[in-house]
């Protein structure tokens, strides 16, 4: 599964994208798994209320299941326009 990071999430984790092999059932499970890895992940994911997540380029929430998903992206609230 490709995991993408944008804006300050990317900066805190220190990379824009990585491939993760995981059995995590939901986004929240994946967040817990990554946070347990290293401090930089724990810091980036400390407050998921301040984060947004997209699965295969569609916005969703942290309860969403990961089955069949190829691309997960984490980022702060968007500031377009």
């Amino acid at each position: 599964m490709d995991v993408l990071y944008f804006a300050w999430v990317r900066e805190r984790i220190g990379l824009p994208r990585e491939t993760v092999n995981t059995d995590a059932a939901t986004v929240a499970d994946l967040v817990a798994e990554l946070s347990a890895r290293e401090d930089r992940y724990a810091m980036a994911f400390a407050d998921t209320a301040a984060l947004r997540v997209a699965l295969d380029q569609e916005l969703t929430d942290f309860d969403a299941p990961l089955a069949g998903v190829r691309e997960v992206a984490f980022f702060p609230p968007m500031t377009g326009g």
């Binding site: 944008f6 980022f75 968007m78 500031t79 326009g81």
Partner: protein, 146 residues
């Protein structure tokens, strides 16, 4: 119907004229242009990051929602990413309709949703450092109008 996500600058006047020429049957054209404001002279430049692939899809979905809701003969969204100087044009939206109310509402709607639902992130680089622009509560609240 046209969505463009690009690094390059665009000419809003030229885009408006081209859009107007193509919008056969329209009686009303509304355009919005967003400009990098120079914050009390302190801004060196703005960096806009985006999510290639998702950006185009998300904007396309918003344009479709606007078309479903209002009688538009055409719509245009251009949004830049990369490094922008103060005074640079970040993005533009244009809508065409037989009647002014639909053109205004659709452009206003697209702007509100582009602000908070299209995957762009702005970073301001000043003499003091660099900061990601925080999403405003008022921008999230604006969505409840629709």
């Amino acid at each position: 119907m046209s969505v463009r996500v690009q690094d390059a600058a665009f000419d809003a006047g030229q885009e408006l004229n081209r859009f107007t020429k193509g919008a056969a049957g329209a009686g009303a054209i509304v355009s919005f242009t967003g400009i990098v404001r120079d914050l009390d002279g302190g801004l060196r430049h703005m960096l806009i990051e985006h999510y290639p692939g998702m950006t185009e899809k998300a904007i396309g979905t918003l344009v479709q929602q606007a078309r479903d809701r209002w009688a538009l003969t055409d719509a245009l969204v251009i949004h830049r990413y990369g490094q922008l100087a103060p005074g640079a044009q970040i993005m533009m939206v244009a809508t065409a309709s037989a009647h002014r109310a639909d053109a205004f509402a659709a452009a206003d709607f697209l702007m509100d949703y582009l602000k908070s639902r299209a995957p762009f992130w702005k970073k301001e680089i000043t003499a003091d450092g660099a900061d990601w622009v925080a999403a405003k509560d008022t921008d999230e609240t604006a969505l409840t109008r629709w």
